[in-house]
Structures are given as structure tokens and as C-alpha cells.
């Protein structure tokens, strides 16, 4: 998902009996559906895992602006341009809500940015793929935001108060994102033969990367159990991936497009679609930094950080000078 492969504690999940009294009281609060707030006691591993997860989620929102920002100046109409601009601006907002939630756990914004830039923190693998045509704006909104929604809706109930509240705010805004994407796809799919071909090509390129967003298969997902006990992960990767496929395949049919998977078939018995797994070697390779756009994305973040340093410093110096003048005048 936006937070893939978040490492949590390596040891297995402790039973209530194995916990010390504080840990036990903490787990019981979570089991009872209570929210944990910033000043409450929490296990160090809960705090660290959440910083990694929320930080990765925040970075994904911010880096996720790049592939779509790529098309703002080239949107086909003024209306499409205004819509895409608003969508990308929302993603900036999502990043800010999440950075603030992470900061309540005792990490600074600058520190998180440094960890992104030096590779200690990650962002979702999906944003390392290029957006080559206008139809990609449709595919991204439809599939990428669609996959994000699938993960974010249950996270509204997560145990950490600030994270939960950020998710609630984000979910309110995501539906617009997916719909504007699907709207682009409808237009393209019902357009000229060349436009329909572009729409199909976009689906072909984004289908498997979108499936990868949910993270590795449950049997290879080592960090899930503790996170699920802490309610910072609400569903398994495979559960969400299946849900996404089941929801998306009929939408592709509606568009008259073909999902690029020979094995895709409705399984009457399971009541779900059977589908092919994405290429997990490719997934791990992209996470390692070898996707088509990893270098470009990080370079863009580094450049923004460096080029804007003087603005951050200048505004702070100005504010401090004015504050000093005010104090002197009193």
C-alpha cells in the first residue's frame, strides 16, 4: 500500500500473559477499541513502527504528486487542468496531515525529510513508474487512488488517534480523486480508436504495479501479525488485493477494456475473481531503488528541498526579526 513492508518488531506477538502490566493495559485499551493519544504511554516498538508507517504514507502522498504534476501543463482542456491541479493539491494536503500525525510521535518534519532523501525511509513503489500519456492520469486516479482508498478506509479505525483522524480527513477527499480518474478513462475509452488504444495501454502498464501496492503476499509478509494486534494494520495484503480486483474488473468491463491477465476468471465457488500475482521480483527491485523513475523522483525531492532552503530560512528570519521588534517596542 502507501505503506508497504513496514518493519515492526521482529519477535512474535506476545500474549496478554507474557506482557508486563503497562503493555498489557495498553493492549487491552486497543482491544476495547480505545484510541491511543500522543501523550499516553505506548510501547517503544509501537511508536517506532507508527513513525515508519505514517512517515512512509506521508512521503507517498508527496512523491505521488510528481507523476501527476507531470501532466498539469499539458492537460487537454482548461477544465481538466483545473481538476488535476486540485487533485494534486489535495495530495499535498494529505502529506501534511500525515506528517503532522507522525510528528506527534516525536519525530520532526525535517528529520523525516532527511530520512526520505538519504533512503532510510521509503514511499510507495507505485510512484516509481512513469506517466507517459494523458490516459495515465485516468489510470492513476482510477487504479492508484482506488487501491489507496481500499487501504485507507479501514485505517480510519486504526488505534492511534492522530493517524485515525488524518485518515478520516483523507478518505473524505479521495472519492473525488478516483472519480475524476474514471471520468478520464470513460472519455478516452469512448473516444477515437487511438484514444481507446491509449486507455488500454495505460491499463496494461498500471494494472500490476497497482496490485503491488498492497504489498507482498500474506505468506511472505513478515510484519503483519504485530501490526494487526496493534490495529495499525486492519486487513491482510491479500484480502485487500482480492477486494480491489473484485471491485475493479467489472469497471474495466464497463469501459470495454481488457485487464492484462490471461488467468483472470470469476471463481463461482470462492465468490471472487482468480487472478495472476504481479512479478514480485520486479516489486523488490523497485523498492531497492531500481524502478524506472526512482532516481528521478528522489532527485526532484532533493532539488525542491535544496532550492527552497532560502525561502524557509528567510521567512523564519523575518518572523524572528519582527518578533524581536515587537518585544523591543513593549
Amino acid at each position: 500500500m502507501y505503506a508497504q513492508m513496514v518493519k515492526s518488531t521482529g519477535t512474535g506477538v506476545k500474549s496478554l500473559d507474557e506482557m508486563d502490566p503497562r503493555e498489557r493495559a495498553f493492549q487491552e485499551r486497543i482491544d476495547a477499541g480505545e484510541k491511543i493519544e500522543p501523550k499516553d504511554w505506548m510501547p517503544e516498538e509501537y511508536r517506532k513502527t507508527l513513525i515508519r508507517q505514517i512517515g512512509q504514507h506521508a512521503h507517498s502522498e508527496i512523491v505521488g504528486q510528481l507523476p501527476e504534476g507531470n501532466w498539469i501543463t499539458r492537460a487537454p482542456t482548461l477544465e481538466r487542468k483545473a481538476i488535476l491541479l486540485a487533485k494534486v493539491q489535495d495530495e499535498a494536503g494529505h502529506g501534511l496531515y500525515l506528517y503532522c500525525a507522525a510528528e506527534t510521535l516525536g519525530v520532526s518534519r525535517d528529520e523525516m525529510t532527511r530520512m526520505l532523501l538519504d533512503g532510510r525511509m521509503k514511499y510507495s513503489s507505485i510512484f516509481n513508474y512513469p506517466t507517459l500519456t494523458w490516459a495515465d492520469m485516468g489510470a492513476v486516479g482510477w487504479l492508484v487512488d482506488g487501491a489507496a482508498i481500499m487501504n485507507q478506509v479501514p485505517l480510519q479505525r486504526t488505534s492511534y488517534g492522530p493517524y485515525s483522524r488524518a485518515m478520516i480527513r483523507i478518505c473524505k477527499e479521495e472519492s473525488f480523486h478516483q472519480r475524476q480518474g474514471f471520468d478520464i478513462m470513460m472519455k478516452m475509452a469512448n473516444g477515437t480508436a487511438a484514444q481507446k488504444k491509449m486507455a488500454q495501454d495505460a491499463l496494461n502498464r498500471f494494472w500490476y504495479p497497482a496490485l503491488m501496492m498492497f504489498g507482498p503476499s500474506d505468506k511472505d509478509s513478515v510484519h503483519s501479525a504485530q501490526s494487526m494486534a496493534w490495529k495499525i494494520k486492519m486487513n491482510t495484503n491479500d484480502e485487500l488485493r482480492q477486494k480491489f480486483v473484485d471491485q475493479t474488473v467489472p469497471q474495466a468491463e464497463y469501459l470495454g477494456l481488457t485487464v492484462p491477465d490471461d488467468k483472470l476468471a470469476w471463481n463461482e465457488e470462492r465468490g471472487h475473481y482468480d487472478f495472476s500475482e504481479p512479478d514480485w521480483d520486479e516489486f523488490y527491485d523497485v523498492l531497492k531503488g531500481n524502478g524506472p523513475c526512482n532516481r528521478e523522483r528522489l532527485a526532484a525531492r532533493q532539488k525542491a528541498w535544496d532550492d527552497n532552503q532560502w525561502v524557509r530560512d528567510g521567512l523564519l528570519a523575518h518572523a524572528q526579526k519582527r518578533e524581536a521588534m515587537k518585544v523591543a517596542a513593549e
Binding site: 496531515y97 503532522c100 510528528e103 488524518a166 523564519l316 523575518h318
Partner: protein
Amino acid sequence: MSAADHEWPLWEIFIRGQHGLNHRHVGSLHAADAEAAIRNARDVYTRRNEGVSIWAVRADDIVASSPGKKGPLYEPANSKVYRHPTFFDIPDDVGAM
């Protein structure tokens, strides 16, 4: 000077919704000064007409009760059940009250 000293200060943002409600805490953000905090709050928290008025308060200036003292802090109210109208049995014959 540590890296954090370069960060813009943190502000807590409160917004009054459309319908004559109280200002409500919506989240926080960083800004160099109060003016910028209000402007940023408009962009971050009211992109869909969520409010008619914004308060920005420096996070450092907020005094909060400690979660650990929950019990003792609220104890005085617990023993005064008569503050609730349902404490009193008023006969139905009396009519609306």
C-alpha cells in the same frame, strides 16, 4: 543549532464550521508566523469551504491536562450525580419540566 531549530514553529488550527458552531480543532501545521499560519490553514484545512473562521495557536502556548491524572482530575464531578436532571424523580402529573 540543531536541525529542528530551523523548522518553522508548529501551530494548532481551529476552525468554525458554517453553522454557528464552536471553533473545533482540526489539526496542526508549520508556519513562520501567525499570518502565514492562517494562510496555510486556509489551503490545508478549508479547500472545500469547511469553515468561516480560523484560529491559529502556537502549539507551545497550549496547556494540556495530563492523561495519567485522568482519575483525580475529574473525580470531583463523579460524586455529584445530582447535577444531572435525571437525579430527581418528578411525578408525571407535574407536566413538562
